[in-house]
Symmetry: C2
Amino acid sequence: MNAPVVAVVGGGQLARMMVPAATALGIHLRVLVESPTGSAAQVVVDAPVGQASDEAAISAIAEGADALTFEHEHVPNALLDRLAAAGVAVRPDAAALVHAQDKIVMRRRLTALGVPCPRWAPVTERDDLAAFLADQPDGTAVVKTARGGYDGKGVRVVASPDAADDWLAAAARPGGVPVLVEEKVPYTRELAVLVARRPSGEVRTWPVVESVQRDGVCAEVVAPAPDLADATRDEALAVAVRVAEGLGVVGVLAVELFEVPGAAGEPPRVLVNELAMRPHNSGHWTIDGAVTSQFEQHLRAVLDLPLGDPAPRARWTVMANVLGSTLEDLTHALPRVAALDPGAKVQLYGKDVRPGRKLGHVNVSGDDLDEVRARALAAAALLRGETL
Amino acid sequence: MNAPVVAVVGGGQLARMMVPAATALGIHLRVLVESPTGSAAQVVVDAPVGQASDEAAISAIAEGADALTFEHEHVPNALLDRLAAAGVAVRPDAAALVHAQDKIVMRRRLTALGVPCPRWAPVTERDDLAAFLADQPDGTAVVKTARGGYDGKGVRVVASPDAADDWLAAAARPGGVPVLVEEKVPYTRELAVLVARRPSGEVRTWPVVESVQRDGVCAEVVAPAPDLADATRDEALAVAVRVAEGLGVVGVLAVELFEVPGAAGEPPRVLVNELAMRPHNSGHWTIDGAVTSQFEQHLRAVLDLPLGDPAPRARWTVMANVLGSTLEDLTHALPRVAALDPGAKVQLYGKDVRPGRKLGHVNVSGDDLDEVRARALAAAALLRGETL
C-alpha cells in the first residue's frame, strides 16, 4: 500500500471528522495536534504533537505528504510560502489563506471582485470611526479586529468611538492587530454557502443553508435554507463560486452571508459576512445529509481528485450544535439520546466540557422540517445534560 | 473524557469500518490486530498486535473494556467463558458464537428452533454420505466441514462418497473437523437478513437484501431484494429474528438464506444457509444506504445502547465488492472512479492486493435499480484495474 498522505495542521474536531472519509478512501491522515489527548489525537494514528506556530513541526508533517492542509487559519504564511516553493502542495495556499486570516485584506479583495459586502472601512484613528458612525442610520456600527476573531470574539457593536479605544491603541503598537468597522447590516437571517474547489478548477457547491446563531455562535443549521427565493439562492451560490475562484481557494470554503431585504418588489439580497477556508460548522449537516460530506470533499479537493456529488440525501437536514453541557462526559447521554430518537445522528468531539464549548452535534434528516428540527434540538438538549 | 471502550478481536476490514461509527459516538476502539500494518491497524489508534488464538492478548484487550466483541468467529470459546465468568461483557458470548463456528451445532439448534434449513445430516462414515446421496433427486449433495470454512472454502458439491474421503479421514483423526452433508438446494437466488440484538432484548432488522455470488463469494448486494414477495420477506425477517433470539445473539447477526420456490400457487420460501455473528459483507450497503450502519449498530448493541433506525435512506442501494485487482494500489484508481461517478461511495480496506481478495467495495444509491447497479459495478471494475 502506498496511500496518499494528507497532512493537517490542527487537532480539533474538524481534523477528527476527516477520519471517516480518509478511512473510506484509503487516505493516510497525518495530523499535527496541539495535545496528545485532544479531539483528533484520540482517533488519528499518525498524530505528532506540536503547535500551529511551530514551523519545524509543520515542515515535518509536510515531509512526503501529497497535500498540506489546515483545520484553522492560524498558520504562519511565510513558512507556507517557503514550503510551496520547495514543492509542497499547500492547499489552500498562503495567498488564499490570508483572506480568511485578515478581515481587511478580505474586504479589500472582495470589494475588488465586486462581491457584495457590508459597507466597511479600515480604522486607524478615532476620527475614522467617528466619521463612519456619523454616517450610520442609528449611529452604531460593528468594529472588528482584522485578525484572531472567531465565534463572536473580536467583534463589538459600538455607538461611540470611545468603545474601540483599547483596540485602536493595541493596533497602533508595533505588530498590533488592525481594526475595521462595518455597517450593522439589517439582515433578516444568516445564510451560508459551502463550496469546494480543486486546483484544476472544478468547483462544487452544496445547497444554501440557514445558520441560526445564538450569542454570536452557530447553534443550528437548516439545509436547505427554508423559504429561500430562487434569485437569492442563485446569487448566494454565484457569490460563493466567485469568492472561491477569485481568491484561488483549494479545499472547502465556507461563505457566511447576511440575507437582507431587496429593493421594493425585489427578492432579498446577500452580503458576505465571513469566510472560512476549511470544513466549517455550517457544513456538518453534510456528514449525514449529503452524498458527499464536506470532509470527504475537502480531502478530494486538496488531493486534486474529482469532486464528489454534493446533492442532499433528504429533503431536510437540521444540524444542532451541542454548546456546553452539564454532563461530565457526553457519552453518558448516549443511552437517553438513542432511546429518544433512533434516527438522530450524533457526533461527539471527545473534548473536555467547558461552558459554551462546541462539544458535538446532532444531525436529523427527514421530510417534515418542523419535526426534523425539533428532533435535532431535543437530542442536542439531552447531550447538554438537559432533561426533556 | 471517560469514553466507553469496545475491544475487538481481529484487525481486518470489519474492525476498520467500525472506526467511523466509533469516532462519531465517542467510543474508544481497542482492536487486537494480527499485523501492525493491517487493515484496521492503519486507522485504529489503540491497536495491540496479537493473534486471535492468543489468550493472553485477548485477556489484555478485554481488561477494562465495556464490551469484548469480534470481527470473525475464530476465537477460543473456553477463554471467552472464563472472561465472562470474570465479569467481562463478551458479546456475543461463547454460547451464541458456537453456532457461527460449527455448522453441525448450528444445524442442530436451528432445527430444534423450527427454523427452515436445507435437509442435512452429520457424516462420520462413508456409508452415511452414500445413503444421503442416494436420497437426492440428482444423486449429488453439498459436503461441508463443520468448522473453518468461509467464502466457499470447506464446501464441496459431491456426486459420490469418494469425493469426501479426505475430509472424512481428517475428521476421524483426534481433533479433526467433523463433516456434514446438506441437500443441494434448488434455490432461485440468495437473500440475506441482517439483524441486531442487544442484551436487554431489543431487536432491529434491516430490509432483506439479495446477495449475488460469483465463484462462491459475494460479488454484489442489492438492497432491498428486488421483486420479493411480501410473504417471503416477512418469513425471512421472522427467521432472522427467531435465530437472533433463539441463539441469544448480541450484536449484528447475518443470516444468509436460500430463496426456494413455494408450493404451487404459494410464494417462495427461505432456508437458512449460513450465519455470521458480526458485521457482514451483506450489510456493507448500510454504511451509505441506511440511517444506521451495521457498524454503528454493532457498537450500540454490544454496549447495550438503544439500537438505531435501520431504515433505508434511498429506494435502492447496491454494494459491489472489489475482489482482486490488477492495480498495485487501489487508491491509484480514485481519480478515475471519482471522475466517472461523483456519487459512488468508495470504501477501500487498505489491504495488499491478492487475486480474488476482498479489497474494498462501492455503494451507490438511487431511484433506478438498473442505473444504480450499473454504476456500482462500473466503479468496482475501475478499482479492479479494468478499463471501461
